[in-house]
């Protein structure tokens, strides 16, 4: 074992894996989840002296414990998924669209404005179509601006899209002040509470069935678009290497602009769903950080929109579970956020072990070869 030769070698070496079978990758991810549960179990016990199993059970109840809880979790997962689906094409071509938050907000602003001002003019189905189109246009515009600047003048899209968020947040504050109800309260309140004009109608008795239908359609559509269309292929090539794309005759600026318009449009539509299909109000919290969380959804799923469903549900589950245990066990919200953090850290960390392997011994490696 302790042969003198090995002294010159590091005890552990990190080697990039060439490829890994899918089942093995998923085992590593599962192990990460188990490790995360154990670690947060330790944390829970050390800090609160509660039984970790009871706490996990509480989390499960919070997310899926009743029909209503389940639908709330579904609704939130769908919102996250929608933004994730919107971000997927942009991130797949390595265009760092940090601006989903703003794109959601501008879509939400237009939806809320139309809902307030046209609520008594059009019937709900027509109003919904108008609001959807307007929010798509607004989101697309918000995505297009940084894309055009990048395509024409090579500006940094990370900073540009991030800054566009602040513009959108200020616009939202302005509109909230414009529409606030009652005056001075700085909140818009529930729009059209009596008439419910412009609200998503119940389908099969569920308030947010339409959310599910819309987002699932987008999810399948985006999967097909990225996998089977020429444009989807162009996105993949640009993402792998801009120079290769140029060499292959792909016009980079066109791909940037087109893809960001699509990305922004879907995020704008997410704003529409958030306002007309869930909150029925507009505030600077309408996007609620989903524009950033959805980046994790898109990346962890490697832009496979079906895997995104799983991750969106995991994140929604963690959030709902955290709220539940905070109230059930009188834990501060911060404690449950730490648990969420540990779980996410392990899952994201597991990607390292999927891409790399640790080699502990030189001879072992030689034997392996």
């Amino acid at each position: 074992m302790s042969a003198p030769v090995t002294q010159h070698e590091p005890a552990v070496r990190i080697v990039k894996r060439d490829s890994i079978p899918t089942w093995k990758a998923w085992c590593i991810r599962l192990l990460a989840v188990v490790l995360a549960l154990l670690l947060s179990g330790l944390f829970i016990f050390a800090v609160t002296h509660l039984n970790p199993v009871a706490v996990y059970q509480g989390m499960f109840e919070g997310a899926f414990g009743s029909e209503r809880n389940t639908w709330v979790t579904i609704r939130d997962a769908m919102m996250l998924l929608c933004v994730g689906v919107g971000l997927a094409p942009a991130f797949k071509m390595r265009f760092w669209n940090i601006g989903a938050e703003g794109q959601i907000l501008v879509g939400g602003i237009l939806t809320a404005g139309l809902m307030i001002h046209l609520g008594y003019t059009f019937s709900t189905p027509i109003l919904l179509c108008i609001m959807a189109l307007a929010s798509i246009a607004a989101g697309a515009l918000w995505g297009l601006i940084p894309a055009i600047f990048k395509a024409r003048w090579g500006t940094n899209e990370t900073l540009f899209t991030l800054m566009m968020n602040y513009v959108a947040i200020q616009l939202t504050s302005y509109c909230v002040a414009l529409w606030e109800n009652p005056a001075g309260s700085n909140t818009v309140g529930i729009i059209n509470m009596q008439t419910r004009a412009g609200w998503f109608p119940k389908i099969l008795g569920q308030d947010c069935m339409l959310n599910v239908i819309l987002v699932m359609t987008l999810t399948v559509g985006m999967f097909l678009y990225l996998k089977y269309t020429k444009q989807g292929y162009e996105i993949a090539v640009v993402g792998e290497s801009a120079n290769t794309a140029r060499y292959a005759g792909i016009k980079l600026s066109r791909v940037y602009i087109r893809t960001m318009a699509i990305s922004g449009a879907i995020c704008g539509l997410a704003g529409f769903i958030s306002v007309a299909g869930a909150g029925h109000t507009i505030s600077v919290d309408t996007a609620g950080g989903r524009g950033f969380t959805a980046i994790i959804v898109a990346w962890l799923a490697k832009f496979n929109t079906f895997v995104m469903i799983l991750i969106a549900f995991l994140l929604a589950f963690l959030e709902k579970g955290a709220i539940e245990i905070a109230s059930q066990f009188n834990l501060n919200n911060d404690a449950s956020n730490i648990i969420t953090g540990i779980i996410l850290f392990c899952i994201i960390g597991s990607e390292f072990f999927i891409n790399y392997k640790l080699v502990f011994h030189r001879r072992k490696e030689a034997a392996g070869k």
Partner: protein
Amino acid sequence: MKKLLALLLALVMSLSLAACGGSDEETPSDTTDEGSGAEETAGIAAEDLQIGLICIHDENSGYDLAHIDGLRGACEALGIGENQITMRINIPESQECYDAATQLADAGCDIIFSDSYGHQSYMALAAQDYPDVTFVACTGDQAAVAGIPNLKNIFPYTYESRYVSGVVAGVKLKEMMDNGEVTDPYIGYVGAYPYAEVVCGYTAFLLGIQSQVPEAHMDVQYTNSWYDLTAEAEAANALMARGCVIIGQHADSTGAPSAVQSAREAGTNAYSVGYNIDMLSVAPEAALTSAQNNWSVLYQATLQHMLDGTEIPADYATGHADGAVMISTLGDSCAEGTQEAVDAAWAGIDDGSLKVFDTSKFTVGGAPVESYTFNSSIVDFTTGNTIYEGQEYETIVDGAFQESVFRAAPYFDIRIDGITELNPS
């Protein structure tokens, strides 16, 4: 390989166990829910009453702590166990409030309270979904006109405690002027939002000060948030920089008193009057007192109706006479004679001889206010549509503005002379 399989199997088993555990637990709670709903009309036994509380922040916010302590105190007085209270903290004024309210109703709560104004419309939505459950939106203003029988509002006469905390500040201000420390009786006020609840509060505060120093005048800086440590501290600093020597507040954090304390230590001669909680812990020299609500009085009265099976009034407000408002312990910095002035003010308020909004004590545009109409309709300000039809009331009766009489939530939104809003909406 085998190890991995074994691990997987173990995981699947434990997960399915957890899942079974979850669904087992759920069934009995559902049945108790229906049982208690049927009993409601006949009153509910203290040991069966399930109570929900939705808070906008957690116990670190003085305002929310006052609610949490208030509900706990009321339950203790009525023999309701603490385990019968389910709390949801950090619930924003958004769809999340509706989610929390309906989830609490699902979990079997008979009565659900929410503590922030903006929760109200979500509580109203939930009330329509659960007609057998009572929803109380504290500080709300729509229950009386909304026509939703199970939606209620409660509100203490906070303006009384603000007036008396103003008296405390006024006595101090007078002392400072008599000593020659201060020549300009300049007051600053850190307000949350520019609407009636806040306007009513700061006007009462200034009138309390003017009862001691009639020439006192005040600037109001809004933070547009109920709880923002940094913004409240910044607003206090900005006001002190303008020359304000007393900083009052209608915002829920300790930001302003802490800022005044630091400024004092750095040589600025200024004092702070807080809200909700005793500020002496963060501002031992700067804090004079705090205006406080004793929510337990209102919670207890509401819960008593639940136990008796009597109808809860849509709107309930009360003041110092019932112990619903108070001021916190006077700080060491308070001037001599403060306690006497405070006692006199309380006595006057209790027996009705002292009216906070006495029209002979304030003017608008240089003239006293002789008539002011309050319309209790809820109107959408953007479109002008009336959401709930209410009545019109003449608020000036017997030479005083009748606050919280026609509706629990404040409706005094007159901007009186001597007050400048630095950043009106």
